[in-house]
Amino acid sequence: AQSVTQLDSHVSVSEGTPVLLRCNYSSSYSPSLFWYVQHPNKGLQLLLKYTSAATLVKGINGFEAEFKKSETSFHLTKPSAHMSDAAEYFCVVTLAGTALIFGKGTTLSVSS
């Protein structure tokens, strides 16, 4: 069965510094991987998705993620954090014909 593990439940950064949110996946076959963001009292929004094309995936708001099969990782990065990036981030995996499986989430805090 497929699953994802988000290695940090909480990440704190200063505005203008880089962001790294870590995710490892487990899947017997080639998965599709996603990052979703959830702002307080808002719906989940898709940041980016990996679907076996390019291993470096660019998403919205300056985020990107790199699929590394050898490390079974799909870490989310951003060069420079903004206050508006403070939110809950979910790493998500799916296989063909199955529903999305969410990680437990990482809370990103951004201080000025």
Binding site: N41, L44, K49, T98, A99, F102, G103, G105
Partner: protein
């Protein structure tokens, strides 16, 4: 609007009451999913519809939970004899294509259920 709409936004129920939560997916979307998100946790899969067919209900936690999508559009999640552990945000999502495809999910803002 063009997004997934869920109602009510908030629901408070006394333990033992039945509740019904509604989801209006994006028009034309084939797939519809229900997720349960407990406080501080990631969303947990409940059930999945492709058009009117319920293809996967493996995530429903008990037989008190029932979902339907009779005409392949609007869906209702019903919880009978609510218990305190049912308190959570219930999220609905729809996608243009089937589960597990590259078609992204569009989520509603959820219904926050509190069972007292």
């Amino acid at each position: 609007g063009a997004g997934v709409s869920q109602s009510p936004r908030y629901k408070v129920a006394k333990r033992g009451q039945d509740v019904a939560l509604r989801c209006d997916p994006i028009s034309g979307h084939v797939s519809l999913f229900w997720y349960q998100q407990a406080l501080g946790q990631g969303p947990e899969f409940l059930t999945y519809f492709q058009n009117e067919a319920q293809l996967d209900k493996s995530g429903l936690p008990s037989d008190r939970f029932f979902a339907e999508r009779p005409e392949g559009s609007v869906s209702t999640l019903k919880i009978q004899r609510t218990q305190q552990e049912d308190s959570a945000v219930y999220l609905c999502a729809s996608s243009f294509l089937g589960a597990g495809t590259n078609s992204p999910l569009h989520f509603g803002n959820g219904t926050r259920l509190t069972v007292t």
